[in-house]
């Protein structure tokens, strides 16, 4: 199908106002929150219903034109970047809350619904949606599903996959199916579990049923500033070791604190402290008070310079903003940055930070560290200047080196940002060819022609006889997930 014909067909489905196709207006869509690599899409469309998503996917599947779904484009691994001149299916206009059921603690939203807006909408009844990625004020639930997003409070409450119970999905062939079960566990294979975190390679969720939670009776937030990183990380291990699971336990290092203190979210950290811990406990009032007192004591036992409990909602909100805006605040100290997303065993924190410092010195690049200390999820922020020749490559290399350190100490290459294009090569360090082939075989069942977000998440393995075998079986089975009606429709055209 020629480009002009495609655009004509897209406009026939969406109307001219909901199709972007002129070369210069597509520039804006050439990357997401990960800017080191970019690729221009061939068009962007803005569906408003499941049917429209299905129609456009059927068209693209029929014509073998690559496509990918995109939410707010706040992702940090390039999951929504069009590396193969895809048609971007932007879901931001599908931003409605379709249903809310407080008695059964469920809400149904469209994928473009902004994470924080969900909490805001149900706050009047004292409910909230637990997963809270730092970008929650802008990112969408659909994107959260694709990336299995985490957040500060996932230490106690779990990540996105623990909070989505069902989804209506447009498969890459255009067929509409329902995964999961609103109540109880879905019987059979956990297809919803496969979908969540599949980074848009298995389909496009168009209706998402989430758990909503009652707000805890009490919350206490503690800010603890340490002269030495080692003391801060030992405090973290001590708290968990004592059997306290805080709702959140976050750490920032000196450079991260300096950046965020230059922003609108100024806390005023002393310039010479090495680490700050932000710890939150929630639950029943009596328990929360006792836990927060214990935590303060543990901080003191580990040479904390200063520790305080938030005295007001405003103070608590400021501390949280300071943490959550840290990535964006990198712009205050550096023209560009990449953020890594390694996971390590908590107890290795001091050692890994030392290794990161060495990588920083050898690469000549400043690296700030922000992390979910409670679950060992590191976010090294590597500062660079893309206008300096080869500095982007240096930053990528430093990031990759850090991930190797994480894997070497028994961790992983991503906690919550996804693999996308950024870490796709690092997957080889984590998985064998056979393991990658198994994943590809699964993708092939859903996404037989690899049209939907191709080149993300799973790298092409060197040799993969299993994959070829699976593909041929799927072809023989006449594309398991193809809707017979769309197939016959395509033949009649």
């Amino acid at each position: 199908m020629k480009h002009a014909e495609l655009i004509h067909e897209l406009i026939a489905i969406f109307g001219a106002d909901r199709v972007l196709h002129k070369h210069n207006e597509l520039v804006v869509y050439e990357c997401d929150g990960y800017v080191a690599q970019s690729g221009r899409p061939r068009a962007v469309v803005f569906p408003e219903t499941t049917e429209e998503v299905a129609r456009v996917v059927q068209l693209l599947h029929r014509e073998k034109i690559p496509f990918l779904p995109r939410g707010a484009g706040t992702g940090l691994s390039g999951g929504a970047t069009a590396m193969n001149e895809e048609v971007i299916i932007s879901l931001v206009r599908m931003n409605k809350m379709l249903d809310v059921d407080f008695e059964n603690m469920r809400a149904v939203v469209q994928p473009g619904h902004v994470n924080l807006q969900l909490t805001k909408q149900i706050a009047k009844r004292n409910f909230y949606y637990a997963p809270d990625p730092s970008s929650q004020s802008a990112c969408t639930i659909g994107g959260n599903l694709a990336e299995n997003a985490g957040g500060s409070h996932c230490l106690k409450y779990g990540v996105t996959t623990n909070h989505i119970v069902a989804a209506k999905v447009v498969l890459p062939t255009g067929r509409v199916v329902d995964f999961g079960a609103e109540f109880g566990d879905a019987v059979g294979y956990d297809l919803l579990g496969l979908l969540i975190g599949s980074e848009g390679t298995l389909g496009i969720a168009t209706e998402i049923t989430v758990r909503i939670l009652k707000k805890p009776q009490a919350v206490k937030t503690i800010l603890a500033m340490f002269d030495r990183v080692a003391d801060a990380s030992e405090t973290v291990s001590r708290i968990i070791g004592e059997g306290i699971i805080p709702a959140a336990m976050e750490m920032m290092d000196q450079l991260a604190m300096q950046a965020v203190d230059k922003s609108n979210y100024h806390v005023g950290y002393p310039l010479d402290i090495e680490a700050v811990l932000l710890i939150e406990v929630d639950g029943l009032a009596a328990g929360v008070r006792a836990e927060s007192e214990k935590i303060v004591d543990f901080c003191k036992e580990h040479q904390v310079r200063q520790v305080k409990v938030a005295s007001s909602d405003a103070e608590r909100a400021l501390w949280w903003s300071s943490r959550k805006m840290a990535f964006g605040a990198m712009g205050r100290i550096s023209p560009d940055y990449v953020v890594q997303d390694g996971v390590i065993p908590r107890t290795k924190l001091t050692e890994v930070l030392q290794r990161i410092r060495e990588i920083s010195i050898s690469s000549g690049l400043r690296i700030a560290n922000v992390f979910h200390a409670g679950d060992g999820n590191l976010h090294p922020l590597i500062c660079y200047d893309a206008s300096v020749p080869f500095e982007t490559e240096k930053a990528m290399k430093a990031g990759s080196d850090i991930l190797k350190v994480c894997v070497d100490v028994g961790g992983s290459i991503t906690g919550e940002h996804g693999v996308g294009i950024e870490k796709i090569e690092d997957m080889r360090y984590l998985f064998s060819d056979a393991e990658l082939c198994t994943q590809i075989a699964i993708r092939t069942i859903f996404n037989p022609d690899d049209l939907c977000n191709s080149g993300k998440l799973i790298p092409k393995p060197g040799r993969c006889s299993e994959m070829k075998h699976t593909s041929s079986i799927i072809k023989q089975q006449l594309e398991i997930f193809v809707d017979k009606s769309t197939k016959s429709a395509s033949h009649s055209m």
Partner: protein
């Protein structure tokens, strides 16, 4: 600041997306702060031409600055937008009727106090004679788009004379002690349609032991020119006001229109290529205060009279986002005994007025107006704010929506309370 310094600060995190009214309405990243910055960067670096794919989003921006409030990186989106508009206007001079309109309004009318007085007189004649009625009855207004008709119908009655002409040059407070001298900026549109608010501002300042000075040579602040990209004209007007107000020797330059206050605080941006002029502009802008800001800064008297009202407060963009003034007006309003303040949903989302945006972009402006009206708490009798553009816009929306709610400037409520205490005495 140069353009590169401005756009290179953006790290593309996207935290600005969901606060941008035009992105909320369209879902298009081209119509978002991050997208606009990306486009402007591409155009400056020459990877795409400075054509309509850049200019449309740049001119569709409300310049409401909501993105600046949330931006962790501190991108000055407003300044960047205004500078690119300047470039566009330079490179594509307007022609024909658009040029005539631009020159007539932004170069001939607004900068000239004399011409504004003529407009004032004509409008007053139009409103007071049978002319308005005749025109309404003739249906001639139907030639205007519905949106402008609605605006016309809520234009306040023009008083006999402007505050600039009525107020004497130097007015002393009754009390012997003074908390300082304020030079009152009376504005252009403000003093045509809202001269009463200027009078109220002067009274409230005097009541709080401030000496009020009214520089007679002052002219319009030039905000509309900056927004439209006519930086040459804006510079001329800024130079004039800087001289006039610095000569007055006042401690503060007091403004009651959010858009003017923000523009005057940002005068130094207009002179970044001339250090000497910039220095002078900085001296000037350091003294600029919104009326609510100066009152809380020098300390204000709690009105002794009660005013029983249930009110809500709308944050004008150029107060909340451009000047970070949110608590001061609320503090003043709450100081009035009897006032119940109900916060509205998203009080700091643009109402769509945005200078002359509601005339240049009526569709988007109307969508935003409807959202604002939907957010007004229905229990409120009064909606207070600190910008004349918002007042007209919200008044028109209230009328179109069939609501019964008064639209007032924050100082008007304060002035009313102070006047009541005099009456009670």
């Amino acid at each position: 600041m140069g353009l590169e310094e401005l756009y290179s600060v953006c790290v593309h995190c996207g935290f600005c997306l969901d606060v941008c009214p035009t992105y909320q309405q369209t879902g298009k990243e081209n119509e978002s702060p991050r997208g606009r910055v990306y486009l402007m960067k591409a155009a400056v670096e020459g990877t795409i031409p400075l054509d309509e794919s850049v200019n449309d989003p740049v001119f569709n921006c409300l310049d409401c600055r909501a993105c600046e409030t949330v931006c962790p990186s501190g991108v000055k989106v407003g300044t960047l937008i205004e500078k690119i508009r300047g470039l566009t206007v330079q490179e594509n001079p307007k022609t024909g009727f658009r040029k005539f309109l631009h020159n007539f309004f932004l170069r001939e009318l607004f900068p000239s106090p004399k011409r504004l007085i003529t407009v004032r007189k004509f409008t007053r004649f139009y409103q007071r004679s049978q002319l308005q009625k005749v025109i309404h009855m003739s249906g001639a207004l139907r030639l205007l788009p519905k949106y402008l008709r609605e605006m016309e119908s809520v234009l306040p009655k023009v008083t006999k004379a402007s505050a600039l002409s009525v107020l004497s040059k130097d007015i002393l407070p009754l009390s012997k002690t003074s908390k300082g001298t304020v030079a009152l900026f009376t504005g252009c549109v403000m003093d045509v349609f809202f001269s009463e608010i200027n009078m109220a501002t002067a009274r409230v300042a005097l009541r709080n032991q401030l000496r009020v000075n009214v520089p007679k040579q002052q002219i319009c602040c030039g905000a509309l020119q900056v927004h439209a990209g006519d930086r040459d004209q804006a510079r001329k007007m800024a130079r004039h006001n800087i001289d006039v107000f610095l000569q007055s020797g006042a401690d503060f330059i007091v403004v009651n229109a959010a858009g003017c206050g923000a523009a005057m605080k940002e005068y130094p941006e207009l002179f970044h290529d001339d250090l000497e002029e910039q220095e002078k502009a900085m001296q000037f802008s350091k003294k600029v205060r919104d009326i609510t800001e100066v009152l809380t800064e020098v300390g204000f008297d709690r009105p002794k009279a009660r005013l029983e009202r249930t009110i809500t407060y709308h944050d004008a963009c150029h107060l909340a986002h451009a000047q970070h003034i949110r608590t001061e007006p609320r503090e003043l309003l709450r100081s009035i005994e009897g006032i119940t303040l109900i916060e509205m949903q998203d009080a700091d989302r643009c109402c769509g007025s945005a200078g002359i945006y509601n005339i240049t972009h009526p569709d988007m402006a109307q969508q935003l107006r409807e959202r604002k009206i939907a957010d007004l708490p229905r229990d409120a009798e009064v909606v207070a704010m600190g910008n004349p553009g918002c007042m007209l816009q919200i008044q028109a929306g209230i009328q179109a929506g069939g609501l019964e709610m008064d639209v007032v400037h924050t100082v008007e409520l304060l002035d009313e309370a102070y006047r009541l205490e005099r009456a009670e005495r």
